[in-house]
């Protein structure tokens, strides 16, 4: 009997346990995956996807990767593991390459899916579309700068598993065609994107126009100056732009820059919020409130999960919030290239007729220069986060011999004295000791003055400015100069120079190519732009010619665009010790080259455009190699 009950129960469970709705019951929507329909019906979900695409924006130089901002011997890298960068003699052809078609595909997919979405507000949808197109154009700009002409893929492609993938293999477009694409794309986008000077981290009309101005200027200068290096071109035009197109591009660059300057894209202007000009220049990079200069930035937020460690790795070592810092050490050549306030060039006056010049205060040698110097570089005798830096290399005795130490702030007994005194600064410089100011300087640009910015637990949320009004002015000035309007160029240059405290304005006849190159060098240093200036002017192989720099030439030809830049030099302050002498206790300066710098960088013709890897050519034999590789 009992057996039957079990059998019946079992049968009942089986019979009642299933119903015809079982399929529905089991078919549950996944809770961890969003479907395309779910995303493209909800504006905030679309924005999240777009946010991911923004996050993957490709920068050549960025505060997240400090060496990327300080390449090409504008600075020495005070980190033991990086010294070999100054001991080799050049770069591989693959250096600086980028080839992220996965990113382009995802942007294309985003555009395709978004254009099919029906439930989104049309205006919002148009803005999202325009932003994604802006990001795609930005990446093509990055590609063309580094690789030359690349395949232009504007829709997603799918492999059909037929065994023949040749229909997915696209040849390279010409370099000019990619620049034309960027220009036409930004032309189309500028009126769809919002005109809002306060929106910094999302694409705006200002950002589109700024990109257009920069791209057109790059294309124009490649057309014009590429003629001097016919070796750096390909017969199919994948590299190199015909010289005849230079004026067309320069005009486009000038127009785009002028529409920003004239306020068509919103109230952009130079940042002039602080009375002290040097402080003003440095705070332009970290002041996020009421900053009319920044046009398009990568933004960060402490406590918001997006921070970077630029201040950690570069803060002055003395009093640093972590046991590190001081990595980027701007070179002597960079520091001395800042003009005197009357607009003339002068080397740092450390010697006169073979005798050292004695200064009462350690920073006096840098006085009376372009305010951007102290805004870009932490000089000896200045402060960071209200703490003075302690940069001095040793004590010079009456007979000229030097007493110094090999650890930071070391104490020694000087001859004829009793008791130990400090003989070297707590920030060095000590040759070969990492994190000290080995050239005599630290970097100030992009360093965050907030407490905690140098701590690993907090980090910094200073933004990285990709496009700013100052660069737009310089772009306009260069384009105007090349189009034979030096008076217009002088006007734009003077706006930038006036903010730097330079008292003598330039006249039309003062504007030369060297002047423009110099202004970009000092204004835009450590922003990841110098490299592309060298490339597009075809000066890289001249400036980086593989020859070492000797001590006499290092202080000559300041402000000349072709000045050799193969090695960074140092200038170290010393205290003079000679009791009874009127110069006792004063400071003198010595120029030297660090012992770790044994190589001299050589930029080969094959470095102008990065190598397209063999694996890519194997996958797509239609890709032609870049010249000289």
């Amino acid at each position: 009997m009992k057996k039957y009950i079990f059998t019946i129960l079992l049968a009942l469970i089986l019979a009642l346990g299933c119903s015809k709705n079982d399929e529905e019951f089991l078919d549950r929507p996944p809770s961890s995956i969003l479907t395309q329909e779910q995303i493209f019906t909800d504006p905030s979900a679309v924005l999240s996807v777009l946010g991911d695409l923004y996050n993957r924006y490709n920068d050549f130089g960025t505060v997240e990767d400090w060496p990327s901002l300080a390449r090409f011997n504008v600075a020495y890298w005070s980190e033991a593991g990086r010294y070999p960068e100054f001991q080799n003699d050049g770069w591989g052809f693959g250096e600086w390459g980028t080839w992220d078609y996965g990113y382009i595909r995802e942007i294309n997919l985003f555009l395709e899916r978004l254009s099919e979405a029906t439930e989104l507000d049309e205006e919002l949808k148009a803005r999202f579309m325009a932003e994604a197109q802006f990001l795609r154009a930005s990446y093509y700009f990055e590609l063309v700068k580094r690789m030359g002409g690349v395949p232009l893929i504007l829709e997603s492609e799918t492999y059909d598993f037929s065994g023949d993938a040749s229909y997915l293999q696209h040849p390279r477009e010409t370099e000019a065609a990619i620049y034309d694409f960027i220009i036409s794309e930004t032309d189309a986008l500028k009126d769809i994107l919002p005109t809002d000077a306060n929106s910094k981290s999302r694409a705006t009309k200002g950002a589109a126009l700024a990109m257009q101005a920069r791209a057109a200027l790059y294309a124009a200068s490649i057309a014009k100056y590429g003629a001097t290096t016919p070796q750096v071109s390909l017969p199919g035009g994948e590299v190199g732009i015909p010289a005849s197109r230079a004026d067309e591009y320069y005009t486009k660059a000038l127009d785009a820059a002028q529409s920003i300057i004239d306020g068509e894209a919103g109230a952009y202007d130079l940042y002039t919020n602080k009375p002290n000009l040097s402080e003003n220049f440095s705070s332009l990079f970290y002041d996020k409130a009421n900053n009319p200069e920044a046009i398009f930035v990568e933004d960060y937020l402490v406590g918001g999960g997006k921070t970077h460690g630029f201040t950690i790795v570069n803060q002055p070592r003395f009093g640093a919030e972590e046991e590190e810092g001081g990595r980027i050490n701007p070179s002597l050549q960079f520091v001395q290239s800042f003009e005197l306030l009357d607009g003339t060039y002068a080397p740092l006056a450390n010697e006169m007729g073979g005798d050292p010049v004695y200064y009462d205060n350690i920073g006096d040698i840098f006085q009376g220069r372009d305010a951007r110097l102290a805004g870009t570089v932490i000089l000896p005798g200045t402060t960071f986060k209200s703490k003075p830096v302690d940069i001095w290399a040793g004590v010079v005795l009456a007979d000229g011999s030097i007493v110094s130490g090999d650890s930071r702030g070391q104490e020694k007994t000087l001859p004829g004295a009793t008791g130990q005194v400090q003989v070297v600064g707590f920030d060095g410089p000590i040759d070969g000791l990492e994190f000290t100011a080995q050239t005599g300087f630290y970097i100030r640009k992009y360093q965050d003055p907030n407490t905690g910015s140098g701590r690993r637990g907090t980090q910094s949320d200073v933004w990285f400015i990709r496009y700013r009004f100052g660069e737009v002015l310089l772009n306009a000035a260069e384009a105007a100069f090349e189009l034979g309007q030096p008076d217009v160029a002088a006007g734009y240059l003077n706006r930038v120079r006036e903010r730097a405290g330079i008292t003598t304005p330039l006249t039309a006849s003062d504007v030369t190519f060297d002047k423009i190159a110099h202004e970009r060098y000092v204004e835009l240093a450590f922003e990841g732009l110098h490299f592309f200036d060298l490339k597009r002017w075809r000066l890289a192989h001249i400036v980086l010619d593989g020859n070492p720099i000797n001590e006499t030439e290092v202080t000559q030809n300041i402000g000349v665009a072709t000045k050799r830049e193969t090695q960074p030099y140092s200038i170290w302050p010393y205290k003079y010790y000679n009791p009874g002498d009127p110069n006792d206790g004063k400071y003198l300066y010595k120029i030297s080259r660090l012992s770790r710098i044994t190589g001299a960088d050589r930029f080969q013709f094959g470095n102008y455009y990065s190598e397209i890897g063999q694996n890519l050519i194997n996958n797509n034999p239609k890709l032609v190699r870049n010249p000289n590789q």
């Binding site: 001991q87 080799n88 003699d89 050049g90 290096t229 016919p230 070796q231 192989h541 593989g546 020859n547 070492p548 044994t598 190589g599 001299a600 050589r602 080969q604 013709f605 063999q614 050519i617 194997n618 010249p627 000289n628 590789q629």
Partner: protein, 230 residues
């Protein structure tokens, strides 16, 4: 017992693995020679000038780079097969043969590759006197007409080791000096003082060579390295 067992296993493994069945033959052909002009080797900077070998007939074709040594020679160990040889445009201080060379390679093969340099350095003379290296030479222009290149600089390079060129930083050059006067290419004189470095041991010899840089050409042409004893 157990140990013996393990030894047996190990030796068995050693025997079975790396048998000739699962290994390729090593490359057995040797391709060597000089880059020459009229039979004279053209010295260049070490590892700076190269040509490429391609082996047609395979699905994936990647070039095999062959670097030219500083005395103008090259050598490469390769698999037996058919090859084609081509220069990368713009490589070398010479005009390269424009057509691709095809050749079959098996065993040893020596082949001189004839090129036309823009200039040749003639009569290099080196001498040492009182801590200074003096050198003289003349430069003969080979290629004239539309393709002619102007001499940009003539440089005397010295080094403590056999490797002498201006491109390798301190590794290739202890000191170098450019000829001050290029107006008479038949009579070029340079002299460079040997720098003293207390950190390096004294030596009673030095290596020197002269290099010529042409406008718009990246690679320099050199003389053979000369050892000077004193």
């Amino acid at each position: 017992m157990k140990t013996k067992f393990y030894i047996f296993i190990c030796s068995a493994l050693l025997l079975v693995t790396s048998c000739s069945l699962d290994n390729f033959d090593e490359p057995d052909a040797m391709f060597s020679g000089n880059i020459v002009y009229n039979g004279e080797a053209i010295p260049v900077a070490r590892n700076q000038v190269r040509f490429q070998l391609w082996q047609p007939g395979y699905a994936l074709t990647a070039p095999i780079d062959v670097a030219i040594a500083q005395d103008g020679s090259y050598s490469s160990r390769l698999f037996t097969g058919d090859y084609k040889l081509s220069f990368v445009p713009g490589q070398g201080p010479f005009r390269t043969p424009s057509d691709t060379l095809y050749f079959e390679l098996s065993g040893e093969r020596a082949m001189d590759i004839e090129v036309t340099p823009y200039h040749m350095i003639r009569n290099p003379q080196f001498s040492y006197a009182a801590g200074t290296v003096n050198a003289s030479c003349s430069v003969e222009q080979i290629i004239t007409g539309a393709d002619a290149r102007v001499v940009e600089r003539v440089t005397l390079v010295i080094n403590r080791t056999l490797f002498v060129d201006v491109n390798s930083g301190d590794e290739g050059s202890l000191a170098q000096v450019d000829a001050a006067d290029l107006s008479d290419l038949d009579n070029l004189n340079m002299s460079v003082e040997i720098p003293t470095d207390p950190k390096k041991p004294d030596q009673n010899y030095i290596f020197a060579r002269i290099g010529v840089k042409m406008v718009g050409i990246e690679d320099m042409i050199y003389t053979q390295v000369q050892k000077l004893e004193f």
